[in-house]
């Protein structure tokens, strides 16, 4: 009966809330309506005539009540009520199945214990609570993401856990379902391979909140970790390599530990270091002496009481190429600089400097050529010839000795070919050589003065800037401290090109103070231009660092500086066939992305190539995969590769061209069961919170998980829904209105009132 009259069950009225659908400005009319009503009733009540006051009062009351019912209906009353849905919402639970979940906390409980306890099909409290209101779907993520019937499918033994893929997979799997939300239960310890942004945006736009439960300690009490090792992908044999090592520790402040670096069990470097609180980074110069794909192991002392011993060593891959770097040194006049540069690199089998020297007007001398045809017509006039070099040294060559086309070609050599350019000082260099308004000024890292100063000639004492401390080209001793000390004792050189400004984005490496107040002279600066590097070294006689009487005969500073500078300038120059791996170490079943670049002989992009990657296991077994043209990078080819067996692999790219097979240098790939799970394994609350916050979900710790069900329930697409029920058309309203109007009519008839 109640439901017949009031349209809805009585519970709705007991739990619900009465609201109105009227906008605020219409609500403002309500007091006015009541005032009008009061005015009407009062006017009627005051009418003088045959009617008695009791009649007027009764009729006024009945009319007022009728109008009240009408106003109530016009105010669009709603009943707001939360109610259980007939079809329960779906909740996707993503369970981290990676090895790091086996890590134990101070209470000796593993992170995985939480999952075992809370999601056990028989006794799991959280699972039971969720299942009361939701259709719960379980997923595991680690090496792969897949739906699982129960947690018996978890072994917590997967390698890297990729949250991005896991979220994408779950969303795709549950598309079309009334998804109340996703719940990620993880330590968040491994950063995803792919940026999360796109996944989170997709979840947010679909209205799917992600709730995260963070497991494990967010900071270990006692642990030492090599959290990151960064090496260049490839170097030329004999180069000095700068290894950037990041060390993180808690609980061992000021402890002295030993860092050892091994190359296939041969110790390359060993040093003592004192641990600083939190994170510290060190840069270590390493010498490469063996070519091939190297695996360097960085190892720190392991303490007996630290949380994880497995993160005290890191492997890093390095390809040491044995190719010869070809450098063209162009001089507009005979200068001793060329003689001593060639002498400095003479013993370096991986560096070849070809000199082109103007000895008289229209007369050139070539030195260090590989064939009689090389540079036969002077400075190259074709891309093929110029681009066959890895770097160019431009000495004292006046602007007029290079045509506009040749200068444009040098610009392309740097920006497109990725070659290196070293601009030396001299009486015909920079502004003094007429380059202020040339194309080469555009790619120079320094701002050439407007006015030449032909009479300028000054001895300069060179000082390294902070950036030079750890620069691989300028490390002229075994370590930074010794290197800086050596720089400060080098004899002065002379400068004829007074330059004081570097361009925005350029790095000043060497300078020479002027009176202690004015801007120093630029002695060396560099910047990246396009794909290549440009160094300005506006001094004219670095050979004095070889020939000055203060320089000991055995001193190798000059040789070392030039070898390192030329190698650094040119060793990253793209080769015709190159290969990049997205990582040097992955877990079993993990996906590695391969990217290869294929260039023609003039180093332009080759679009219709068919390169293939070859993965070679240590037992000689090979796996070949065809690379496909990259969708957005012309000349680049890409593929993804998954490796199912742990081991040490070599990867290279091959290209068949005119009956010949070209191949890239080998790159090493390490595949392990644990991947990088022991690194950065503290609970990554920042990442888990970010996932929750950006998808309108919430982050919980295990002790706060009780709020999870309520949070899910509050989702409109969850087990309960928020209803807003219209009340204006309830039968009781109609009946009340009819009754009041009928009563007034009857009363009037009975009392004989008009």
């Amino acid at each position: 009966m109640f439901e017949f009259l009031f349209k809805y069950p009585v519970e709705y009225f007991a739990e619900g809330k009465l609201i109105t659908a009227l906008p605020w400005w219409q609500l403002a009319l309500l007091p006015a309506s009541l005032a009008v009503l009061a005015f009407v009733v009062l006017g009627y009540f005051r009418l003088q005539g045959r009617t008695r006051s009791r009649d007027r009062m009764t009729i006024s009351l009945l009319r007022g009540m009728s109008l009240s019912v009408i106003i109530f209906s016009l105010s669009q009353p709603l009943l707001e009520v939360t109610t259980q849905m007939q079809q329960p919402g779906v909740v996707g639970i993503l369970l981290d199945n990676s090895i790091s979940m086996q890590l134990k906390g101070p209470d000796q409980n593993a992170r995985s214990d939480f999952i075992r306890q809370q999601f056990d099909a028989e006794s799991g409290d959280l699972l039971r609570d969720l299942q009361q209101d939701f259709d719960v779907r379980l997923f595991k993520f680690g090496a792969e993401t897949k739906a699982i019937p129960d947690i018996a499918a978890l072994d917590f033994n997967d390698g890297d856990s990729d949250l991005t893929r896991a979220l994408d997979f779950a969303q795709a799997s549950l598309q079309g379902e009334p998804l109340a939300g996703l719940v990620v239960i993880s330590d968040g310890a491994v950063q995803p391979d792919e940026p999360l942004d796109a996944s989170l945006l997709s979840l947010k736009s679909a209205g799917i909140p992600v709730y995260s439960i963070g497991l494990g300690e967010s900071r270990y009490t006692r642990d030492i970790e090599i959290s990151r090792v960064k090496l260049p992908d490839a170097v030329v044999n004999g180069s000095r390599v700068m290894a950037d090592v990041s060390i993180k520790q808690h609980g061992y402040d000021d402890l002295q530990v030993e860092l050892t670096i091994e190359d296939d069990s041969q110790i390359l470097h060993r040093q003592q270091l004192r641990l600083k609180p939190g994170m510290q980074s060190i840069r270590i110069p390493l010498a490469t002496e063996e070519s091939g794909a190297r695996q360097l192991e960085f190892r720190l002392t392991t303490m007996a009481d630290e949380a994880i011993a497995g993160n005290n060593s890191q492997q890093a891959m390095l390809t040491v190429d044995d190719r010869k770097i070809r450098i063209l040194y162009y001089e507009g006049e005979p200068r001793f600089e060329l003689k001593f540069v060639r002498r400095a690199v003479a013993d370096d089998d991986n560096l070849g400097v070809t000199g082109l020297i103007r000895t008289a007007d229209a007369k050139y001398y070539r030195v260090g050529i590989e064939s009689s045809e090389e540079l036969r017509n002077g400075f190259p006039i074709t891309r093929d010839e110029l681009f066959s070099y890895d770097a160019i040294i431009l000495g004292s060559v006046e602007n007029s000795l290079l045509s506009r086309e040749q200068q444009d070609m040098i610009v392309e050599f740097v920006s497109e070919r990725g070659g290196g350019l070293l601009m030396l000082g001299g009486r015909h260099a920079f502004t003094e050589g007429g380059y202020r308004d040339s194309a080469l000024h555009g790619i120079s890292p320094v701002v050439m003065p407007v006015q030449a100063e032909p009479e300028f000639n000054r001895p300069i004492k060179i000082r390294p800037t902070d950036a030079a401390w750890v620069h691989p080209a300028l490390m002229i001793a075994d370590n930074s401290e010794k290197s800086i000390a050596r720089w400060l004792t080098l004899p002065p050189l002379t400068m004829v090109n007074p330059i004081r400004r570097v361009k925005p984005g350029a790095t000043l490496l060497l300078s020479s103070p002027v009176n202690g107040q004015e801007d120093p002279y630029v002695a060396m600066a560099w910047h990246r231009y396009g794909r290549g590097k440009v160094i300005a070294f506006p001094v004219q006689n670095s050979w004095l660092w070889q020939m000055h009487h203060e320089i000991d005969l055995e001193d190798q500073t000059h040789e070392l500086l030039w070898r390192q500078m030329l190698r650094w300038l040119a060793e990253s120059v793209p080769q015709r066939l190159s290969l990049d791996l997205s990582a040097g170490k992955i877990h079993v079943g993990g996906v590695i992305k391969l990217r290869s670049e294929v260039l023609r002989s003039d180093f332009s992009e080759q679009h219709a190539a068919r390169p293939r990657a070859v993965l070679t296991a240590s037992d000689g077994g090979e796996q070949t995969i065809r690379l496909q043209p990259h969708p957005s990078q012309p000349g680049a080819y890409a593929a993804e590769l998954s490796v199912d067996e742990p081991g040490d692999y070599l990867v290279h790219v091959e290209l068949e061209e005119a009956g010949q097979v070209h191949r890239s240098a080998d790159t090493r790939l390490l595949v392990t069961r644990e991947g990088n799970e022991y690194f950065n394994s503290e609970m990554n609350e920042k990442l888990l919170r970010r996932i929750a916050d950006e998808s309108n979900g919430s982050f919980f710790r295990p002790q706060g998980m009780g709020k999870l069900v309520n949070a899910l329930d509050s989702n409109p697409r969850g087990s309960r829904t928020l209803l807003r029920l219209e009340l204006w058309d309830m039968p009781v309203v109609f009946l009340l209105l009819v009754t009041l109007l009928g009563a007034e009519w009857w009363y009037r008839r009975w009392r004989g009132v008009a």
């Binding site: 060329l338 003479a346 008289a360 000054r458 070889q546 005969l553």
Partner: protein, 266 residues
């Protein structure tokens, strides 16, 4: 009977004292060694024609040493030719320097003459050794015959006790770096050069065959260029003399410029 040859020889004999005095370092020619450019040397020009001052036997009638034979006129005239014929940024005047001067290494090409009279001190031998090993090139000129060679050999053994002196092969870059020198010819001093026009000999003492020999470092780079039984310096000095044969001065300038360009590029 042909009287021409005896007449020419008689004429040479008559003029000998005058020519002899001319080719010997006269007091007015024997200017004190230039102090060299301001420190650090080499900052004004790329190349300084540097003459090495060494300890040695002295002429009994002269205050200077044998190092200064043809100095400074030969140096000046060679520099005129070098600047005219090439784009080398050369300092236009002489630059003589003692072997023990600490600035020596800042001039990577050193010219020395009359090394048969050389008598190096221990310090000079060490300085010269360091200079050459650091990257300097020593060009030796104007010493004749086996006696001078033996004397020079003794001195070089003080510098490099165990380095061989070998003939520079004709295809070596030093012979074609700027001019193509097909064959090493004997450049006579001014006296014999004048006489050579009339069939007189070009050699001195028993130095009949001219040689360009060298001492190489471990990497095969020339450290010492030895012009034996020839006198490039006299040809430079007397190149402006109408009686000095053009073919000798031309050759002397050509090979001298080759030495400089080679020294700046190798």
């Amino acid at each position: 009977m042909n009287y021409a040859k005896p007449f020419a020889l008689l004429l040479i004999a008559c003029l000998l004292p005058a020519l002899s005095a001319a080719q010997s370092p006269r007091q007015e020619d024997r200017a004190q060694p230039a102090s060299g450019p301001e420190a650090p040397p080499g900052n004004s020009h790329e190349f300084y024609f540097t003459r090495g001052i060494y300890s040695g036997e002295f002429d009994d009638y002269d205050e200077g040493g044998r190092w200064a034979i043809d100095y400074p006129k030969a140096d000046h005239q060679f520099l005129v030719a070098l600047k005219r014929l090439s784009v080398v940024d050369a300092y236009g005047s002489d630059n003589a320097i003692e072997l023990t001067d600490p600035r020596l290494r800042q001039f990577p090409l050193l010219y020395t003459v009359e090394v048969g009279s050389m008598s190096l001190t221990e310090a000079e031998a060490l300085a010269l050794r360091n200079y050459l090993l650091a990257g300097g090139l020593l060009v030796i000129d104007d010493f004749w015959g086996s006696w001078a060679w033996d004397q020079f050999l003794t001195q070089m053994q003080l510098v490099f006790p165990d380095r061989a002196i070998v003939e520079v092969p004709p295809d070596h870059p030093v012979f074609n770096v700027f001019y193509n020198i097909d064959r090493v010819i004997q450049v006579p001093n001014v006296r014999q050069g004048w006489g050579a026009q009339y069939g007189g000999p070009t050699h001195e003492y028993d130095g009949i065959v001219p040689h360009v020999r060298g001492i190489f470092d471990d990497d095969g780079r020339l450290m010492v260029l030895i012009n034996w039984n020839t006198d490039l310096g006299d040809a430079w000095e007397w190149a402006d003399h109408p009686e000095y044969p053009l073919k000798f001065s031309t050759y002397a300038f050509e090979i001298g410029i080759n030495f400089v360009i080679y020294g700046m590029t190798h």
